[in-house]
């Protein structure tokens, strides 16, 4: 058993933790980062192996030794999820992600107010806990800009300081300047989608991605090999935390990364402060770190789990939980999906980077009039490969054949043989409103390899607002597929209520300590030297992927800690 002392301990060195490690280290703070997985290198990603990385989920937590359970409602018994879609190594999910990097819309930060102003309070489902964020887009814009430039995002601006720019996303919130890198090259799938969307009067554009379209900061540009989502980038062109912020953190001389280190408790004293953390080492040893500041930045399940596991006599409901909000308002993106297959051309969608290639934003957020529709909020629509990666295993398991074609046998073989190179997927990444009874807590029966209770999700997205919106988006996808000139257009089946992608919520931020867990800086209302930073703090989710927002919030929190908290420890608000 070892005990170390440091200024700051960070739990989970991924999208948020890596930024905080670098920025606090630069400010002279001594930082220890705990990472339960290994620290890999770009050289570790040289084997472009679909079985290993997509199908067997290397780079993700092992579902047997690190289970997460799910049940559709509180009366059902939870069962372990068969796939876990988050990272398990230094750099976290930014190693394997599709690197899609959005700024949220202005109205995403005020979804409640926007809805009431435009449609009246009755438009909000009665059981939804929809709220505004405790900050505005304008507050976060400088940090979005910093994240894009420091980490390296490729894209085309659609709104620079209010000036709309054709070819970019004209629905995006105003940005101070262009992206640091031009958009990635368009592929055949993107070109067909682009033409169809224009024909229908929409506004298509190249999806902004944290993948280098040109050499940048000593790293090479993308070679369009296609082994992107689910894979670590074998040349370092994907701007993961591993190749961007961790080298910066190393260079400060103030950062120490402990790998194979599983934090199981945040320690606190009777004065109401946290004193550090306890963790199991790779050899099973039980260790303690004493720290002035504890920052939780793991995937969202572990924020809630750690807070609940760290309960004491003083904090009987878990740390940071005087509001009773810890673990509530779990949201995930619902994926409505359709396929378009072509007899007159090849698409070769296995070429080119990432998941969401080319997009429209016409049906996201409140970018369209919801009057007369049975739902609020929207979805971000893109052209995609079947499994977000495009190899033959992912395509075969991710693309259901059209009606009339069986899932096996000669007809299925011929379907795959003909259309593997001749299809495009269409995806509506659909916002999930917050609901208080969509929760994360501790599973009473299932334990992980360390003997800790597994995180348990209670969740079913199939509520009236979400079902109506998914059906609306499905029809948009089918119309797009037909406008693309596809010979066949068909739907993918929807899942049976289980959690989708990009889990958010559980430690929501807010303006009121009575109804939220943290303030806008991720600082616990109850315990000022405890910070929780990541998508677990997002009060609402938008149809957009969360990572750039996680990163912008991490920069904002780092600034607040360095410029204000460091000199005057205490509540930042």
């Amino acid at each position: 058993m070892a005990t170390e002392k440091t200024d700051v301990v960070i739990i989970g060195v991924g999208a948020a933790g890596g930024i905080l490690a670098a920025e606090l280290g630069k400010a002279g703070m001594k930082v220890i980062g705990l990472e339960r997985g290994p620290r890999l290198t770009t050289a570790d990603f040289s084997s472009l192996d679909e079985l290993r990385y997509f199908q067997r989920q290397d780079l993700r937590p092992n579902v047997k030794s690190q289970p997460v359970t799910w049940r559709p409602n509180a009366n059902a018994r939870a069962k372990p999820l068969s796939r876990l879609n988050y990272g398990n190594q230094a750099g976290g999910g930014t190693i394997h992600y599709g690197a899609v990097s959005w700024r949220l819309h202005e109205d995403d930060f005020r979804a409640r107010s926007q809805t009431i102003e435009r449609y009246g309070a009755s438009a909000i489902p009665e059981d939804s806990s929809l709220i505004d964020w405790p900050l505005t887009y304008a507050d976060l814009e400088p940090y979005y800009d910093r994240a894009e430039y420091e980490i390296g995002v490729s894209g085309k601006a659609g709104n620079v300081q209010g000036r709309k720019i054709e070819g970019g996303n004209v629905f995006e919130a105003p940005r101070r300047r262009e992206f640091p890198l031009p958009p990635l090259q368009i592929d055949q799938a993107g070109a067909v989608f682009d033409a169809a969307a224009r024909k229908l009067g929409y506004h298509p554009f190249s999806t902004p991605r944290t993948i280098l379209s040109k050499p940048y900061q000593g790293r090479p540009g993308c070679t369009y090999c296609g082994f992107c989502q689910a894979f670590g980038c074998h040349i370092g062109a994907k701007s993961s935390i591993l190749v961007t912020k961790l080298p910066e953190a190393d260079a400060t001389g103030n950062f120490q990364l402990l790998t194979g280190a599983m934090c199981y408790r945040v320690n606190s004293d009777n004065s109401g402060r946290v004193t550090g953390v306890s963790y199991y080492g790779p050899d099973g040893s039980d260790n303690t770190i004493e720290a002035e500041i504890v920052i939780l930045t793991p995937f969202i399940y572990d924020n809630t789990r750690l807070l609940l596991l760290s309960k004491t006599g003083k904090f009987p409901d878990g740390l940071a939980n005087s509001s009773g909000q810890v673990g509530k308002h779990l949201m995930t993106h619902i994926m409505a999906r359709a396929f378009a297959a072509f007899d007159d051309r090849h698409i070769n969608i296995y070429m080119g980077p990432s998941a969401q290639r080319h997009s429209i934003d016409d049906f996201n957020a409140d970018n369209f009039d919801h009057s007369g529709l049975a739902f609020i909020r929207g979805a971000q629509i893109s052209v995609i490969p079947a499994a977000l990666e495009a190899g033959p295993i992912g395509t075969a398991v991710g693309m259901n054949p059209p009606p009339g074609i069986p899932r096996w046998g000669a007809a299925y073989r011929d379907f795959l043989a003909k259309y593997f190179t001749r299809y495009a997927g269409l995806n509506a990444q659909t916002e999930n409103l917050p609901y208080a009874d969509q929760t994360i807590d501790l599973d009473p029966d299932v334990r992980d390899q360390w003997g800790l209770p597994a995180p348990r999700l209670t969740y079913d997205w199939r509520r009236p607002n979400e079902l109506a919106r998914v059906e609306y988006m499905m029809r948009k996808l089918e119309a797009l597929g037909r406008a693309m000139g596809a010979t066949h257009v068909w739907r993918a089946p929807l899942n049976q209520g289980s959690p989708g992608a990009h889990h958010e919520g559980g430690t929501r931020m807010g303006s009121d300590p009575a109804t939220s867990v943290v303030n806008r800086y991720g600082q616990s209302w109850d315990i000022p030297n405890l910070f929780i930073i990541g998508s677990s703090t997002h009060p609402t989710m938008s149809g957009f992927n969360p990572t750039l927002t996680i990163q912008a919030l991490a920069y904002m929190s780092a600034d607040a800690i360095v410029n204000r908290y460091k000199n005057n420890p205490g509540p930042l608000i």
Partner: protein, 227 residues
């Protein structure tokens, strides 16, 4: 099959492609097909180190024959269309069950026993002895959950698992024991790992015809060939 064989066959495929390029460039995806002599040579190089019928690590002879027949019905071969047998899917599953999927050994044992019990009760024969039309009836009954007598694994679970593993054996890199001579990749026109796609490649409406396909083992030996 061993990793050595995979690398050797990858080499032979490249050699065949070199010859093919002289004889008639631009035939795709047939350019990946070897001529009969080359095929024979590649097969000969593989055989001495495998058991000859694509298993030996986990399955007993009967079980291997059953899974091989099942997989071939899921992904049947035809002239110019490699199926599960040609891809040696059985070899992939056999190796996987002795390694990465060792926790599924009993799932397969019991699933296979239940499958043959069902076939005997329904047709008085084991699965492998049924004609292909009957085999398809059985598989349909599994897929639809209508096959009787299954407790654990359930019929649908067994079907889904064998289907998933057949897909893996068809399309995973040959280093894992299936996708023999890139049979699965040739079937669907996947070119395997390519270091770069140009803008022209990506915007083309034609089939992609640049060779060769390179397996993981060959890449590891000579990284310049792949990435």
């Amino acid at each position: 099959m061993t990793k050595h064989d995979e690398a050797r066959r990858a080499f032979l495929v490249r050699a065949a492609l070199g010859a093919g390029a002289v004889a008639g460039a631009g035939l795709m995806p047939d350019v990946y097909a070897q001529n009969p002599e080359q095929r024979k040579e590649a097969d000969a190089s593989a055989r001495p180190l495998s058991s000859g019928d694509g298993h030996g690590a986990f399955f007993n002879r009967d079980n291997a024959a059953t899974i091989a027949a099942f997989a071939e019905r899921l992904m049947p071969g035809a002239p110019g269309k490699p199926g599960a047998s040609e891809a040696e899917v059985i070899n992939y599953i056999d190796l996987a069950l002795s390694g990465a999927y060792a926790d599924l050994q009993d799932f397969y044992r019991r699933g296979l026993a239940q499958l043959d019990d069902y076939c005997r009760q329904t047709y008085n024969e084991r699965f492998v002895r049924l004609d292909t039309a009957r085999q398809d009836e059985v598989i349909t009954a599994l897929e639809e959950g209508k096959a009787t007598g299954f407790t654990w694994p359930a019929a649908q679970a067994f079907f889904n698992t064998v289907r998933t593993h057949t897909i893996e054996g068809m399309f995973a890199d040959p280093i894992y024991g299936g996708n023999k001579d890139f049979a699965g990749w040739r079937l669907v026109g996947f070119p395997g790992v390519q270091a770069t796609f140009t803008t022209a490649d990506m915007q083309s409406r034609q089939a992609f015809v640049r060779a060769p396909m390179i397996g993981l083992q060959a890449q590891a030996k000579d990284p310049k060939r792949g990435t």
